[in-house]
Symmetry: C2
């Protein structure tokens, strides 16, 4: 029944994983279609699929794939490749690149910091609210710095564990 090893992929099981992982991403704030596309890429063997393949596997229109892929590319979660000598495009998760992109929530952090700075200014740095906000701001700035260091440690850890991919 389970034919995990070696043989053909169990399409049913794969699809179930895709949908369940996508659901988690949705719950964390990602839109449904990008989440499904991303999960599908993550679970295919060479980490890359064409638009048509994605549409078929997920049972959605080319338009939906197009929108999802555009979003994912903007977030640096997939990259687009042109198959040389074909109009087909191919979307890929670079197995290590993609979770580094997740850490690119840094962009989000930066905007939060901007908003908080405005807040400190308009509330007044000498008010209780202003002080609370300044402390919050300091926290995010701290986190920014830590994340870079953490990713560095991860690369070391990863190489020890998996060898250089």
């Amino acid at each position: 029944m389970t034919e995990s090893a070696g043989g053909r992929r169990d399409a049913e099981a794969v699809s179930q994983f895709v949908e369940s992982f996508a659901a988690q991403l949705v719950e964390a704030g990602m839109q449904r279609m990008p989440a499904r596309v991303f999960a599908a890429l993550l679970s295919c063997d060479d980490g890359a699929l064409t638009s048509a393949e994605l549409g078929e596997q997920l049972q959605v229109s080319p338009a939906a794939v197009s929108g999802a892929v555009r979003y994912l590319a903007q977030q640096h979660m997939v990259s687009r490749e042109r198959e040389p000598g074909s109009r087909r495009e191919r979307y890929r998760v670079h197995s290590n690149q993609w979770y580094e992109a997740l850490t690119n929530r840094e962009a989000v952090l930066k905007r939060w910091e901007g908003a908080l700075r405005d807040g400190v200014h308009s509330l007044g740095a000498d008010t209780p609210a202003g002080r609370r906000m300044a402390e919050t701001l300091a926290f995010f700035e701290f986190v920014d710095g830590e994340i870079a260091a953490m990713m560095e440690r991860w690369r070391v850890h990863r190489e020890k564990t998996f060898g250089q991919g």
Copy 2:
């Protein structure tokens, strides 16, 4: 014109900050109303407001406040207080508690890890897709561990900078 120091709060400026910070939170995936409520609490001087005050400041119904607050409490981003001897409730951001709660995205990470573990199993640990997923899983596990350490360093850093709140 700017009356930031000492005097009355510039309601206009405060409201503008509230809406703009809320917008950032929305963009990061939070629902609109919780985001607005949270921003309002963050920018009031004692970090706590009653349901009625929130409704008035944000121009929404008691029902909307109720829903937003329930969500925020579940996420541990605010706590509820009962004013002793009154049916009024008061919602508060504990100025340091709240961003620790943000780090409680750990719950999210844990669920992702669960989903990935399932994925490794159903794809087969010996397949390329399975290996990619195992590496992703390892990354999240690594991050989990790092976050605790980072928060510890933050507390030290914070105390040096702001004294114990």
